[in-house]
Symmetry: C2
Subunit: 385 residues, 2 copies
């Protein structure tokens, strides 16, 4: 990593693509290569855009999980998000892939909403508000179309009694120096956040089969620790499918910050807002004037609209290639590109808007009384040792 | 403290009475003096032997709590014990005083059984067994005669959802360096034990009035931390009533270890066992031979039987004085003293044995559906800020 780059679940700084390569070495994970994609495709027929375009670019043991799957052994999916009440389009990414994998592999999905994490990390100050907002986020996530009988969405503080039955074991098997080495804890770290490590690991023990975790690569440290203790407790080591980080509107390798509208498209944004934000803020690879643009052409590689089209919103490879070419040769203007991108993003969010009512009506199944959820409210950890 | 003396909740070493004096300075607590005892007596008429003989020898703010009580402000009592399945007579001491205070001040009592603590401290290895045994210990504690409608006994892993609503706040307000300074945590400390600090503090917020905590002085560090954060969360600073440590059978300032029969009288021991253990193991202040004893007399100050008679089993001051005198002048032999002590201990334990059936029948009230317990299963922390 470049000296200024940092990656813990609470501090993420990536400066360029090389940093992503170095993370692979640093964490000891594998690249998602065409061999793995072919292996996936054997079961799924097609490839999700997030895999095809390699926004999920690294993994741990997913090849082994697929080998087992071929022998008839199922796996389960687990992901999550610390609620804050403001979700942007980047936040959806792990859920989108998870939903697709659920469908293709008929897998149970567990979604953790750790309402205490950001409060303990001192990233938010009003816990009661966060807790309230967690239900809203649960609805947004559900609206992606998860199976309400094969998906369990839980808020940590609600589900803590069940989680605790395993956290008692997990938190015994991790000592402070290990946690410190992995997460960079300091004297200032709250004793809550130190313990939280165990709570993010617990759901990997919800079933005896392989846990597969689609998530940002910054979350990998939790699951490295999981792999140190899983077999000792009689469970399987976690497999991760790891994504890069999305770009904020301000340009390559900037962040979307839900609290700064000039950087982000929120799930709640309507079409007008999306369009205005992109027109006004989205960093462009185009030239300063229309005249120059038509003459010299633009650079899609550093353009935020192209980033989002590539990663998520333009599934059609041919169409994407055409757009890139016409941008490079100056026939596609920045204004046109922005308009198109706003339309594509809106098209995607429109599906969520339409599903929100369904999600609201079915939330009780995801959280409390669907087939999987009702089983999980009786779940209790049993170490298999 | 002498250099070798250590006091944290997990490491206790006291070499002599001076160490107790130094602890008072080190912790910044106050001595329980005759003024305070008089102040207590105003409300209680008599004084419990554990106070009168000053085995509870230090306190924090109990004088202020009594001042408030005189103005009509109630307080509540809180104590507890990490279950291990083997309780010795020393373990009863905080509960005995707590029960007496409940009766005299008509106070609610909260008793925490943290089933995870010793597992996280790596003092026990079989968590499931400990959890099972916790119910047995709850019965023993209840058998001391607590009021089943004013006493709530809870096992942490059962009651965690309620505890967690406050632990979220407590664990945010304590950082690692503070916890380390107070408890001497190292890199080897499990992340569970670090978090546990918050769980022992939580019950001090069960009511808005003063929490009063009778406990061994080794537990004071938790409540010093509590005092740093209580008012910030809108609650009252904890008051502690602090005891010395009991002597094991092997002699002055040794420990009772439930796992070593030669050091300890267990609650389960029958009269024959008690007598045999005392005869065989109890360190004596008498002379090596009966002849010498009759000639030179014994020393009650270093005698384990006298320790226990003074602290708990001989309430009659006059009788105790007579015993001491006749031991010093050699007319009371070690054999007679041991026999008498065994009888007194047995007399005390017989009350517990007799009450066990009642405790068993009423345990549900203490734990689940008595007046206080049923209220507490609906309790949720509300920071008053």
């Amino acid at each position: 990593m470049s000296k200024k780059s940092k990656v813990t679940p609470w501090e993420v700084e990536i400066k360029d693509e090389n940093d992503y390569e170095r993370l692979i070495e640093l964490f000891g994970v594998s690249k998602i290569d065409d061999n793995l994609l072919e292996k996936i495709k054997k079961h799924t027929n097609d490839l999700h855009i997030l895999l095809k375009r390699k926004f999920f670019y690294a993994h741990r043991d997913f090849d082994k999980v697929l080998d087992s799957f071929e022998k008839g052994e199922k796996f389960f999916l687990y992901t999550g998000r610390a609620p804050s009440g403001k979700m942007h389009i980047g936040h959806l990414i792990p859920f989108i892939l998870t939903k697709w994998l659920q469908e293709k592999f008929d897998a149970n999905v567990y979604i953790q909403l750790p309402d205490e994490e950001k409060f303990w990390a001192k990233k938010v100050n009003d816990y009661e508000k966060i807790k309230e907002l967690a239900y809203y986020e649960a609805k947004i996530i559900a609206s992606l179309g998860f199976d309400p009988n094969k998906t369990f969405i839980f808020i940590n503080s609600e589900y803590i009694k069940n989680l605790y039955s395993a956290a008692i074991y997990v938190a015994r098997n991790i000592n402070f120096s290990t946690a410190k080495a992995v997460f960079g804890f300091t004297g200032e770290t709250t004793i809550g956040l130190i313990f939280y490590v165990s709570l993010q690991i617990v759901p990997t023990f919800f079933e005896n089969s392989y846990p597969v975790i689609p998530c940002g690569i910054d979350q990998d440290p939790y699951f490295r620790l999981q792999r140190d203790i899983a077999e000792k407790l009689g469970y399987k080591k976690a497999s991760t499918i790891l994504s890069k980080f999305v770009w904020g509107l301000k340009g390559p390798y900037t962040k979307m910050s839900a609290s700064d509208p000039s950087t982000t498209i929120l799930i709640d944004d309507d079409f007008e807002t999306i369009k205005q934000k992109i027109m006004k803020y989205a960093f462009s690879g185009g030239q300063p004037t229309l005249e120059l643009h038509k003459k010299l052409g633009g650079n899609p590689d550093i353009d935020v609209c192209f980033f989002w089209l590539r990663v998520l919103f333009e599934e059609n490879d041919k169409k994407l290639k055409e757009l890139e070419e016409s941008y490079r040769n100056g026939t596609l203007t920045t204004g046109e590109l922005k308009e198109y991108t706003a339309l594509k993003i809106n098209e995607f969010l429109e599906k969520i808007r339409k599903n929100m009512k369904w999600a609201e009506n079915n939330l009780h199944k995801f959280m409390y009384d669907g087939k999987l959820a009702s089983e999980m409210w009786n779940w209790k950890f049993e170490p298999k040792v």
